[in-house]
């Protein structure tokens, strides 16, 4: 896959900018807050169908403007395509004033979700540390995003599941307000239990299956990075059995090693989720929310048997996250018939030469790579040799030869 051209209009700090990218390595150099990360975000929006940074769509529009547009010309599966993601004002009810207009090759496509799978990116960012230190949602999103890349239909299962949980939560709230549960209510609850549990079991199975594939890879990378001193392990945490909020530490959480459940048939897993829901019926009504299911699950990482969040040093934590991201890169590369786009946002300079070398050894040869950085010192020379240099300054991206002279010195 290749991104050939990126055109931005009123996107974040870009007023109007259009730039051609080279097939190999593209190095975007610029001071902080000039628009380097925004540029990669634009590519990621076309790839994921959403921004991983914006709280709401309006954040993507340049201050003082009312609409914005991202246009990418890219090559995928041997064909060239043009994808646009635009935001425009609307007075349609329920749109909150802003409407998305998403097109591929001039044809309007229904939802941003349908962008998935056309252009695949794997990104490394300094915010990846959230994978370890952030809330459980970061870890769930990580695993879910990889799953969607590997199997686009997973997205449909996931959004159906979340909708089912939302419906169920509303019913729990209604029952709480009513103060009693009639026979009809029991019947309806059973329906939402069954629906939610079935979809939930499918999600858990998918996640465990992927985790079982990623973990040995991540373990190998951690070993390599640490010189065989650190053993990475991870557990899938079922929050279904504990009564605490997901933000709280939950030592009594029911953690099950992925390999145990992965053997269990999906229907059995759905059954046990339904049993749990029944057991916790009154607690769920009292708290007006669904407490059992994959929307609350988590992944717990350990180094040499000790909780990595609590006991690992900052450096070890960075290595662990890198090992996981490398596992992701490997898995996605294996799945696709052509290499994904690699986005390295301000991370290369932070990696020592050993780690840079490991990353480089895993990246397939003909991978298009976009590297953002404030400076090119500390880089393994192979990253920048023959690279296409671009300068990012105040919402503008332009090819530059200056950087080459910096390196030559």
């Amino acid at each position: 896959m290749r991104v050939k051209k990126v055109s931005l209009t009123n996107f974040r700090n870009y007023k109007r900018s259009s730039v051609d990218l080279s097939d190999g390595r593209n190095v975007l150099i610029g001071e902080n807050a000039q628009g380097k990360t925004n540029f990669l975000e634009a590519i990621e929006i076309i790839s994921l169908g959403r921004s991983t940074r914006a709280q709401q769509d309006g954040d993507l529009i340049r201050a003082g403007e009312t609409d914005m547009r991202i246009e990418l010309v890219f090559e995928s599966g041997g064909a060239e395509a043009i994808a646009t993601f635009a935001l425009a004002p609307t007075d349609k009810p329920r749109a909150r004033g802003i409407e998305r207009q998403i097109k591929v090759n001039g044809l309007t496509i229904g939802s941003a979700k349908s962008l998935r799978g056309r252009l695949v990116t794997v990104s490394f960012k300094s915010s990846d540390l959230n994978l370890l230190r952030g809330g459980p949602k970061f870890r769930r999103d990580w695993i879910d995003d990889i799953l969607i890349t590997l199997r686009p239909a997973y997205q449909d299962i996931l959004s159906k599941y979340l909708k089912s949980v939302a419906q169920r939560n509303r019913l729990l709230k209604l029952l709480f307000e009513k103060g009693r549960v009639s026979v009809e209510d029991q019947d309806q609850l059973r329906v939402w239990d069954e629906q939610t549990a079935r979809l939930g079991a499918t999600i858990i199975k998918h996640r465990l299956h992927l985790l079982n594939d990623l973990l040995p890879r991540a373990e190998r990378h951690q070993e390599h990075i640490s010189g065989k001193r650190e053993k990475l392990t991870a557990e899938y945490i079922f929050r279904a059995k504990e009564s605490k909020d997901e933000d709280e530490e939950g030592p009594e959480a029911d953690s099950v090693s992925a390999s145990q459940i992965v053997e269990q048939p999906e229907s059995e897993l759905a059954q046990s989720l339904m049993v749990l829901m029944k057991q916790r019926r009154y607690e769920e009504i009292a708290r007006k929310q669904t407490l059992c299911g994959p929307h609350r699950d988590d992944i717990k990482f350990s180094l040499n048997g000790a909780d990595a969040v609590e006991f690992a040093s900052q450096g070890q934590q960075r290595s662990l996250v890198l090992a996981c991201k490398l596992a992701e890169l490997e898995r996605v590369q294996e799945h696709l018939s052509e290499p994904p786009i690699l986005l390295l946002d301000d991370v290369l300079a932070e990696l020592d030469l050993n780690r840079q070398g490991l990353l480089m050894s895993l990246v397939k040869n003909d991978t298009q790579t976009l590297i953002t950085t404030t400076h090119v010192t500390g880089f393994k020379p192979e990253w920048v040799e023959g690279a296409h240099f671009l300068e990012v300054f105040d919402g503008n991206v332009e090819p530059t030869t200056e950087a080459k002279s910096i390196i030559a010195q």
Binding site: T90, D91, K92, P93, G110, S114, P152, A153, Q155, D156, K160, K163, S164, A166, Q167, R168, R170, L171, L174, E184, D187, Q188, R190, V191, W192, E194, Q195
Partner: protein
């Protein structure tokens, strides 16, 4: 912008229609003001007349100005088969195919707690009575495979099963002439689920 009160009121009323925003509501209101007086009266009469005369059939809950409706009173209809749909507009869509010769039952919605719709708001009790009283052989559930549709089907299935009739659900898949490449993932996976031997 300032609108004189009667005009503001008209715009406000139009804005209550589904999919109509403030700008469209303004356009509609100005259009009405430009119509001649007879046309405006016809429009106003058509609205109240439809509201007065069109009611849910007391048997199947389809919309009709007769009660029971034309389908329920027809002697060409097979009463041993009931096709259950969410809305009256689904009956009209199925009738266009001229394939189905049984009777219908309109649920008047789907179970959706988020929209305040519980089973008690749907015509489920009436359906169970019909299935029981009319010795219905087959109940065909023509309900969309959305999360609310699936929940409603599960709910109906639990209640219908003990009555002993055959329960089926219509298959969903690709529209005729649809291109595989342009079908979305959920349509494709539904189509795969509903595949048949050739």
């Amino acid at each position: 912008m300032f609108f004189t009160p009667p005009l503001a009121k008209l715009i406000e009323e139009f804005q209550k229609f589904p999919g109509v925003g403030p700008k469209s509501a303004q356009r509609m209101a100005f259009y009405v003001l430009n119509m001649n007086y007879d046309s405006v009266q016809n429009l106003a009469f058509a609205i109240t007349d439809a509201k007065d005369k069109v009611k849910n059939c007391s048997k199947c809950f389809h919309l009709s100005s007769n009660d029971p409706c034309e389908i329920c009173t027809s002697d060409k209809r097979d009463r041993s088969k009931i096709c259950v749909v969410a809305e009256a507009r689904d009956v009209i869509a199925l009738e266009r195919t001229r394939e189905f010769k049984g009777s219908y039952h309109v649920l008047t919605g789907l179970i959706s707690p988020l929209e305040g719709k519980g089973p008690e708001h749907l015509s489920i009790r009436e359906l169970l009575n019909r299935v029981h009283d009319d010795n219905v052989e087959e109940v065909i559930l023509a309900i969309n495979p959305t999360i609310e549709g699936d929940a409603t089907v599960l709910y109906l299935n639990h209640l219908l099963k003990p009555l002993g009739s055959k329960i089926t659900r219509i298959a969903f898949g690709l529209p005729v002439g649809a291109d595989l490449e342009y079908a979305d993932d959920s349509t494709l996976s539904k189509a795969l689920e509903g595949r048949r031997e050739v």
